[in-house]
């Protein structure tokens, strides 16, 4: 099924939803509607699973006030891609967030999915995945961010992630001496 790209075709979405009860409609903070497979949503998101089981799904669009339309579109996109991909029981149970089993590397399509995101979209998606209890999506997006940190100096990490350096010059010098072995220059 084609995903509504959030251009406000609420009428059309509602018709589809009525025709096909296998989907749920989600509404972003800025009022855009997105449709997602009910099965995939319940499987990938503990929060949506709870809402579906508890009957608190609104056919006219379940309000997700904490999630902007860009992030919600990515969430829905991920769910739909996942629905076409593989059974995910193993993926969910392998989540690093809940136990100490080794993290399962992202699959090729998951890697591509996060690679095409801008930094901002990636950070927003992390927050959305965390809010919706989507462990696998959280793992995959966090993995991407950790990859962006690897091999970089603290200064380069600040640059990439736009982080304000809140240390004094003296504190920085102290840290640099203590951890000199990690900060070698090539």
């Amino acid at each position: 099924m084609e995903v509504d790209k959030g251009k406000g075709e609420a009428e059309e979405t509602r018709k589809v939803a009525e025709a096909d009860r296998d989907t749920v409609t989600l509404k972003s903070s800025d009022g855009k509607l997105f449709e997602v497979s009910k099965e995939a949503a319940a499987r990938l998101s503990t929060v949506l699973a709870g809402m579906i089981a508890g009957g608190s799904i609104d056919d006219n669009g379940t309000d997700l006030k904490q999630i902007g339309s860009e992030a919600l579109e990515n969430v829905v996109d991920y769910c739909n891609k996942h629905a076409n991909s593989i059974p995910s029981a193993a993926l969910i149970s392998s989540s690093i967030s809940f136990n100490t089993a080794p993290f399962k590397e992202p699959e090729e399509w998951e890697r591509k999915f996060v690679d095409r995101l801008s930094h901002d979209a990636l950070f927003d998606l992390v927050e959305a995945a965390n809010f919706l209890g989507m462990e696998r999506l959280l793992d995959v997006t966090c993995h991407k961010i950790s990859e962006m940190m690897k091999g970089k100096s603290p200064d380069q990490i600040r640059e990439v992630f736009n982080i304000k350096n809140d240390y004094t010059k003296e504190e920085l010098e102290e840290i640099r001496q203590e951890l000199a072995w990690a900060f070698y220059d090539d």
Binding site: D124, E159, I163, L172, E173, E174
Partner: protein
């Protein structure tokens, strides 16, 4: 030209003073190039949009510079817009998403996935908030339990023929996350202060991030023996000279020294918190062993000394089988195995299974290696025998029994290798032995010598590496692979890292 080579040509040249002169706060000196110390740089903000930042301060020793004035510039329309420096987030990226909006527990997950301590140590001092998350004891122990294997930075090898010891970065972290030069031990002998003569002191043990150098044991051992040793921490280039260990009258130095955790409640090991253990035996009273322990829980400069570590009569430490990260193992004769726990400094006994092959038969080799699961394995090879028996601990450490895990037919695993001769493992003419050399888990070297001397054969004429679980064999190039046959002393990155709370 499109991608894939070709040339670049100048598309446009933008005069910054021209596009920026209308903006509030613009000073002609920013782009005048009149020699004042101005730093101008560009960050890519979006498609065709860059941010131009100006700082009039010189950069710090970290190369970190705060912009004092910045504007966004559209590269095509040359439209400009002033950036509000004080809101902190808009200079280098779009304002919407912000990694600092991510909650602490999710940042923890991101840091756990960094896997290598070296990556973590670079991310931690980025800002006070991140530092606070990483410095937590709970986080550090969780990180360690997930990433233990990434702690090994590489291994030391004692050089041959008067060469000083060499460090080889671990092949499992590629590219290496820490510069191998950081692990050099040259601070012990270069410069004015020669602490160690690399020709008389050799590496005898490593544990955590510490390296223990000692005199090579005499053969035959001298009854009154002064064992000199130095413990050093290569990454911090610090060392501690240990007062000589003098063997007690009537006892012969037998094995050690070995490095153990310090006795502080917090555990762990560093240069101010470690213990050393030596074992001596009495030649006349069979099975009488005596330990000497050195505890360095005091300051680096404080005086510490050796004291007696009593060993029960029942515990035999006859021949050293090898060491793992957790323990040091001896074959006590017969079925007896004795282990020294490196964190508690306690000895424990366990038993090998009953076996048709006699454990004490002259020449039976018994060695300890590490399995892929990180647990110890005892390997046994009898003289003239073509089978390696592999034993695993039936119970986790702390005694119990060992049980046969597998039998490896050497002729079967080696027959496809170049230079293989059926006589190597066939008729007992050749002598085969095992060395636990590599720092990689489950990897041993099997060597064969077909020429025996009166001293017993010691130079291998043909060797191969054997992975104990996959049973994959690979020939060792005897001409180039000197290190392949030497014992690896793995060295870890310091853990927990020095992270003083600065929140």
């Amino acid at each position: 030209m499109a991608r894939g080579g070709g040339e670049w040509e100048l598309e446009t040249a933008i005069e910054l003073s021209a596009v920026a002169s209308g903006l509030p706060g613009h000073l002609p000196s920013y782009f005048s190039g009149d020699g004042e110390l101005q730093d101008v740089w560009i960050n890519v903000t979006d498609v065709a949009v860059v941010t131009v930042s100006v700082s009039s301060l010189t950069s710090t020793s970290w190369g970190f510079t705060d912009p004092s004035w910045a504007f966004r510039l559209d590269l095509e329309t040359l439209e400009t817009e002033l950036v509000d420096i004080d809101d902190g987030v808009s200079v280098k990226g779009k304002t919407m998403g912000d990694i600092q909006g991510i909650p602490d527990d999710v940042l923890e997950l991101i840091f756990l996935l960094l896997a290598s301590p070296a990556h973590l140590i670079r991310a931690a001092p980025t800002c006070k908030r991140w530092h606070g998350i990483v410095a937590g004891a709970r986080f550090l122990s969780r990180f360690l339990s997930l990433n233990r294997r990434h702690l090994v930075a590489g291994s030391y090898y004692n050089g041959r023929q008067q060469e000083p010891p060499a460090f080889v970065a671990s092949s499992s972290s590629s590219p290496p996350v820490v510069d191998g030069r950081r692990f050099s031990l040259d601070f012990l002998w270069s410069g004015d202060n020669v602490v160690v003569d690399p020709q008389s002191l050799r590496i005898v043990d490593t544990y955590g991030g510490l390296v223990l150098l000692s005199m090579e044991p005499y053969d035959p051992p001298n009854p009154i023996c002064h064992v000199h040793m130095v413990v050093c921490e290569p990454l911090t280039r610090r060392y501690k000279v240990i007062p000589p260990m003098v063997t007690c009258s009537g006892y012969y130095h037998r094995s050690g020294p070995f490095l153990l955790d310090g006795d502080r409640a917090a555990g762990g090991i560093d240069l101010s918190n470690f213990r050393l253990m030596c074992v001596a035996c009495h030649p006349d009273r069979r099975g009488s062993y005596r330990g000497s322990m050195f505890t360095a829980s005091c300051d680096l400069d404080g005086s510490c000394s050796w004291h007696v570590y009593a060993i029960d009569d029942g515990q035999s430490l006859r021949s050293l089988m090898g060491r793992t990260r957790a323990s040091v193992y001896w074959h006590g004769g017969g079925r007896a195995v004795t282990a020294l726990d490196r964190s508690t400094a306690e000895l424990s006994s366990s038993e090998l299974p009953e076996s048709a092959e006699e454990w004490d038969e002259q020449g039976t080799e018994v060695k300890v290696a590490v399995g892929r699961d990180g647990e110890p394995r005892i390997l046994a090879i009898a003289p003239g025998c073509s089978v390696v028996r592999v034993f695993a601990a039936a119970m986790a450490r702390g005694g119990g029994e060992w049980e046969l895990e597998k039998r490896i037919e050497l002729s079967a695993v080696a027959s496809g290798l170049p230079g293989y001769l059926p006589s190597y493992f066939d008729d007992g003419e050749a002598v085969a032995w095992i060395d636990v050399t590599a720092d990689a888990a489950a990897m041993v070297t099997v060597s064969v010598c077909s020429v025996t001397t009166s001293w017993g054969c010691m130079d291998s004429s043909w060797s191969f590496r054997l992975e104990l679980e996959s049973l994959e064999a690979e020939l060792v190039d005897m001409d180039s692979g000197v290190l392949e046959l030497d014992v690896a002393f793995p060295c870890e990155l310091p853990w927990p890292p020095v992270l003083h709370a600065r929140t």
